[in-house]
Amino acid sequence: MQLSREQLLRAFRSMVKIREFEERLHIENPKGEIPGFLHLYAGQEAVAVGLCEQLTERDYIISTHRGHGHCIAKGCDIPAMMLEIYGRAEGLCNGKGGSMHIADVTKGMMGANGIVGGGQPIAVGAAIACKMRGDGSVAASFTGDGAANQGTVFEAMNLAVVLQVPKVFVFEMNGYSEHTGGSYSTGAKDPVQRIRGFGIPVFEADGFDFFSVHDAVRQALEVSRNGGGPTAVYAQTTRYYGHFEGDPMLYRAPGEVERLRAENDCLQNFRARVTQAGLLAVDDLDEIETQIRALVEHSVSAAKAGRGHAPAELLTNVYASY
């Protein structure tokens, strides 16, 4: 399906936002001002954007510990996210959640999640709500190579099939779960077949290629939005940084990341595709990069200068009422 110029610009903008955000965090983190763990999404942009470009604010996503990309793709405000990651009171979640728990429920972004396998059943519930509303909306969850072996994911897949809810299971296989290769921990020779075994149609995609993901998602949404029950999108991808910032990546062959960056980067692939086809000009793309860099720059300075908390804020938002 041919995307319009506006759609292409939007998609590129969204991928660049994620890339610039993550690359900048990689630089900022060693300075010691960011609390806790950071799991960067750089390298995987095509997956989040390939999905979220086809969702609206009525659709839901549930993310993972590696959530920044999903949040940005679903429209979370970048300066507010940065404030959150720095633990500031004006952060998107008041500085109480941090990198691993960024959410904006007003945008259908129902949270990054620190519990591997925590999100998939939650998304089934959101899909029940979508089905009851009957407005064609869907709920999507992201699942990594590692998470794919969590029992909660199997339960969620089965429940989604039993209930025939509009749920898209996005499998985002970056090859690793922490320090372990994805192939080690999955017993099934064919993990895609395993998902089909639940009764879920799977649309496979090349996660290095935005257009491939976009196409797979389009087909999945066609089914799920129209009463066809749950679907899955299965994409191979890679992450450019360690499991968490500071991970020495002893499990990865030297040069592996550099080679992937040079030869199969999803942003470069997008650039090449749209410029060679004459759909967008190099200047259009460069202009977007410049704008986003400025946005990230501004977000980081604002986050560094962000407001600390009044002590009373420790006690707020434990309950809606008590």
């Binding site: 500085g95 029992g151 779960s177 372990t180 080690y184 062959a253």
Partner: protein, 337 residues
């Protein structure tokens, strides 16, 4: 005597017990790491906090088992292996993840012996990292020992220093009951003298960390360090404290606590958990029931607030009980009468 970090001390205990007893196995996520990786380096992690380093090269894949991310299966498998005669040491990377596998602990491990009779033994250890202080937020920072302590059938160990950690880990592995072994992540790098040879410390025996006649301070895990710092400050103003580290919360050394309170008449309990149904509340209730007549002042509890653990550094440091709050609580007990 050699000085070792708590990380090194626990690692040494695991090495020594695996060498001593072929029934000991270790299982969990990335306890070795590197499997299926592209570098070919097998032990790429040795545990995300390095606690299980060197076990795989020394004892092999049959006994050092990297698992998929499947906590319910990890603890279930540890349960079954224990019932079948092995001595598993299973790792739940962060105590918070216990939510995923709680049935295997609450309804299975804890209850086998009571339900099945004395022929059933479940000699497993479940190691978990716990505690706030790293900005790890609400799902990676909880001190869940009150939850485990409340379950009959489980033993619960929360060491506060490297020496105790080694001796208690060895005891935990040799113990015939399920033991929850909680390691505070902020203590991994703290060191003290630790003998090279193996030794076991008994459960249910508290340690008197510091002696004084005026106030009894009972503190758990990382809070023991804070209590010690508070006691130093209090000593400078002439208030002398007994600081008691129970080391295990189940069994709990009630006698040492009661004996101390009978002498001081004042009690401060310091617990990093939220206050409701906490160890602080547990100890306070025990003392109120059994040493009421000796109390010269109301018992003071210094705990986290009734909230999840916040992410932001400023809020997190308000959340965690501080030496300053312990000092204030101790002063308050001195002020009554």
């Amino acid at each position: 005597m050699p000085v070792k970090t708590m990380r090194e001390a626990i690692n040494e205990a695991l090495h020594q017990e695996m060498a001593r007893d072929p029934r000991v196995i270790v299982l969990g996520e990335d306890v070795s790491g590197g499997a299926g990786g592209t570098s070919g380096q097998r032990e790429a992690a040795g545990g995300v906090f390095g606690l299980t380093k060197g076990l795989l090269p020394r004892f092999g894949e049959a006994r050092v088992i990297d698992t998929p991310i499947s906590e319910a299966a990890i603890i279930g498998a540890a349960n079954g292996a224990a019932l079948a005669g092995l001595r598993p040491v299973a790792e739940i990377m962060f105590a918070d993840f216990v939510g995923v596998c709680f049935d295997q602990i609450l309804n299975q491990a804890a209850k086998f012996r009571y339900m099945f009779g004395p022929n059933a033994k479940a000699p497993l250890v479940i190691r978990m990292t716990m505690g706030a202080g790293m900005g790890a937020a609400a799902q990676h920072s909880q001190t869940l020992y009150p939850l485990f302590t409340a379950i009959p059938g489980l033993k619960v160990v929360i060491p506060s220093n490297a020496y105790d950690a080694k001796g208690l880990m060895i005891a935990a592995i040799r113990d015939d009951d399920p033991v929850i072994f909680l390691e505070h992540k902020m203590l991994y790098g703290e060191s003290c003298e630790v003998p090279d040879e193996p030794y076991a410390l008994p459960f249910g025996e508290a340690s008197l960390v510091r002696a004084g006649d005026d106030v009894t301070i009972v503190a758990f895990a990382r809070m023991v360090n804070f209590a010690r710092a508070a006691a130093d400050e209090l000593a400078a103003e002439g208030i002398h404290c007994d600081v008691i580290d129970p080391r295990t919360t189940s069994p709990l050394d009630e006698d040492m606590i009661l004996e101390s309170v009978r002498a001081t008449g004042r009690l401060v309990v310091v617990d990093e958990s939220p206050p409701r149904c906490s160890l602080a509340a547990d100890v306070a209730a025990m003392v109120a029931e059994r040493a009421f007549g000796y109390l010269k002042a109301p018992v003071r509890q210094v705990t986290a607030p009734h909230t999840p653990v916040p992410f932001a550094t400023d809020l997190e440091s308000l959340y965690i009980p501080s030496p300053e709050k312990i000092v204030q609580a101790a002063r308050a007990t001195m002020a009554s009468r």
